[in-house]
């Protein structure tokens, strides 16, 4: 087998890795894990579209770009706090600018009882041993290039633990801001989130831009829910129009654990979201709801994989996609009901709207069932705005553009009806409405 050519992308990051001192370097097992993952990344490079997981997302153009690693000026970058303000939403805030923790934008005083919340860079300065399992992972799949890159180069991120029985419903806000710099930056964030037995957490994750730039951000989050824990997780993605953002969330749900995830994807030029969940304990329940709204030449690829692995587990997934102009949306929802996961209940709905003849959406629900007495349903559609509804609105005086925006928002809105925090539900609705062109 011939050695793949080192692309400018790989070259720039490999060279940068040799010069940069990441938080936690000097910790033997971490150094080793970073080194090995970097080697694996360099050896394999970025996947091409022959790799199943990247079939619809070409990385050729990204491969030709060069990025600087990290932002030495991050602490001094002025950012527009309005970009991530959530009126009516309180709670602790952990904020990062260009991948670097910013204490001045965070709110970490008076944390509620049972909540341990700190940047990874800080956690690594203390006892790093509890992070060893998460941070010394090796990624072996062909499609895992960004996870390898992240494992090799992540120097910061979020460490969040909720003690058994504690309730943190604040919610906790995680804010990731991209700010203009002297060139194109790459940053990598690694999150470790754990909910103890019977713990409850409400979490909001925001990706926002404070000014135009074309940075690359990657993040890998491991989220573990112990027995009976409950998580409510809302993600609002409004990265810069030129930005590239690659996220991977891996969830592990124990017995009787319940997780509810809502995702609103609006920004970025190239956005990839991998959402992997394992329902590992009996009666674990997962609900996912996502919306992407694309225009221009935006490309958004969501790859969801849910694995039912225990008795009487349930998952419900409701995803809506909207693509206008020349944008491209990809949604893959794969649900596996493993042998022995009897009595599982899985449903998946992916409905999509094309607002232009040049936009494209590929949706692919997949269901594999290896257990007994399983209830499963899935459906996927790609369509257009209903002409009768459009005419009805226009006949009442609502101009065409506004009528289209109204129907598009209505199409998406059902997903967020299940967001329990009223302020957040409203914020999602407002961001969505503000994003839709009304003229």
């Amino acid at each position: 087998m011939s050695e793949p050519q080192r692309t400018p992308f790989v070259e720039s990051l490999q060279d940068a890795a040799a010069r940069v001192q990441l938080a936690g370097s000097g910790i033997g097992w971490l150094d080793a894990a970073r080194r090995e993952n970097l080697e694996a990344f360099v050896a394999a490079g970025l996947p091409d579209t022959r790799t199943e997981a990247w079939k619809y997302t070409a990385l050729r153009a990204l491969g030709q770009r060069r990025f600087a690693l990290g932002d030495a000026q991050a602490a001094a970058r002025a950012v527009d706090a309005a970009a991530f303000a959530l009126p009516g939403v309180d709670g602790p805030v952990l904020a990062f600018v260009n991948g670097v923790f910013r204490a001045d934008l965070s709110r970490l005083n008076a944390l509620p009882a049972g909540l341990d919340l700190q940047p990874l860079s800080q956690a690594l300065r203390g006892d790093a041993e509890p992070l060893r399992f998460a941070l010394s992972r090796h990624y072996r799949e062909g499609g895992d290039a960004f996870a390898r890159l992240n494992a090799a180069l992540a120097g910061d991120g979020v460490v969040l633990r909720v003690a058994a029985g504690a309730k943190v419903l604040g919610p906790v806000q995680l804010v990731f801001v991209g700010a203009p710099a002297e060139g194109d930056l790459a940053w990598h964030l690694r999150h470790v989130i754990e909910l103890g037995e019977g713990a409850e957490l409400s979490l909001v994750e925001q990706h926002v831009a404070s000014g135009a730039q074309q940075h690359l951000g990657t993040q890998v989050a491991d989220i573990v829910l112990r027995k009976g824990a409950r998580l409510d997780h809302v993600t609002l993605q409004q990265a810069a129009a030129g930005g590239t953002l690659v996220r991977r969330d891996s969830l592990h749900l124990g017995e009787d654990a319940q997780a509810r995830l809502h995702v609103l994807e609006l920004g970025g030029a190239l956005v990839r979201h991998d959402l992997h969940a394992t329902l590992a304990g009996d009666r674990a329940r997962l609900a996912t709801g996502g919306v992407f709204v694309l225009r221009g030449r935006q490309h958004m690829d969501t790859q969801m994989a849910i694995r039912h692995q225990a008795l009487d587990t349930a998952s419900e997934s409701v995803w809506r996609g909207v693509a206008d102009e020349r944008s491209r949306g990809v949604y893959r929802g794969a649900i596996v009901v493993a042998p022995g996961a009897d009595g599982s209940d899985a449903s998946l709905s992916s409905k999509n709207l094309l607002l232009s003849g040049q936009a494209e959406i590929d949706t692919k629900p997949e269901l594999e069932i290896y257990a007994d007495e399983v209830k499963a349903a899935h459906g996927a559609t790609v369509g257009q705005l209903d002409e009768r509804s459009l005419f009805y609105l226009r006949s009442r005086g609502i101009p065409l553009g506004e009528a289209r925006a109204m129907l598009t928002a209505a199409f998406c809105r059902a997903v967020f009806a299940s967001v329990s925090h009223g302020g957040l539900r409203e914020a999602l609705d407002q961001r969505l409405m503000a994003h839709l062109p009304s003229a």
Binding site: D386, E387, R388, S389, F391, Y392, L393, R394, S395, R396, G397, I398, P399, L400, E402, A403, M406, L407, A409, A410, F411, R413, A414
Partner: protein, 256 residues
Amino acid sequence: MLKIENLHARVEGKDILKGLTLTVNPGEVHAIMGPNGAGKSTLGNVLSGRDGYEVTEGSVIFNGVDLLALEPEARAAAGVFLAFQYPVEIPGVNNTYFLRAALNAQRKQRGEPELDSMQFLKLVREKLKIMQISDELLHRAVNEGFSGGEKKRNEIFQMAVLEPKLAILDETDSGLDIDALKQVAQGVNALRSPERGFLVITHYQRLLDYIEPDFVHVLADGRIVQSGDKTLALKLEEQGYAWVAEKDPALSGASA
């Protein structure tokens, strides 16, 4: 106010309206009756600007403006309102939100100041009282899960809020039982005024028992073949549409 002259229109290549002429003045209620397929609904759709209807000849002048040259939203702002035969359900769009957006969009197009939510709420309360509609309807999505009667009442309620100059009622009586029909008619009667014209399109005479027209026109094969006062409607009820065809030999072939 509304002057339709020699209107010809086609749908999917088929001629439906074949030279319709009609004038509606402010304050007048005109009933358009006719057998199925005569072009009744086409008339409403052409006037409100629905896609797919091609006007091949003739003109429609509304208060001095060429109505056919306007987009549907501009026709609404100019004061044309169509009460749909089949109101559309729009899940995810709240009825109140929709109505306020519609009213403000019209006001904006007319260069009038928009209403804030307090002013709008006040207006809506007044109209609810007139229409005898429960405000529960307002909190639901537009027409979603409404009964047939609720949908038609919602149409009339929208009309009350939007205050059009010309209201076109497209078979508003279809699918209604007698109680619902009375309620809808009551609403319409409450909106009759010297400034407002009505075009009431219906297949049956029964609606006209409750909404008394000033003029009745019989539409057959795309043209008005007979006009008269409300007694014409009663005669039609008695003798059926065949009677019209008999009187007009040119039609007997078409309606046979």
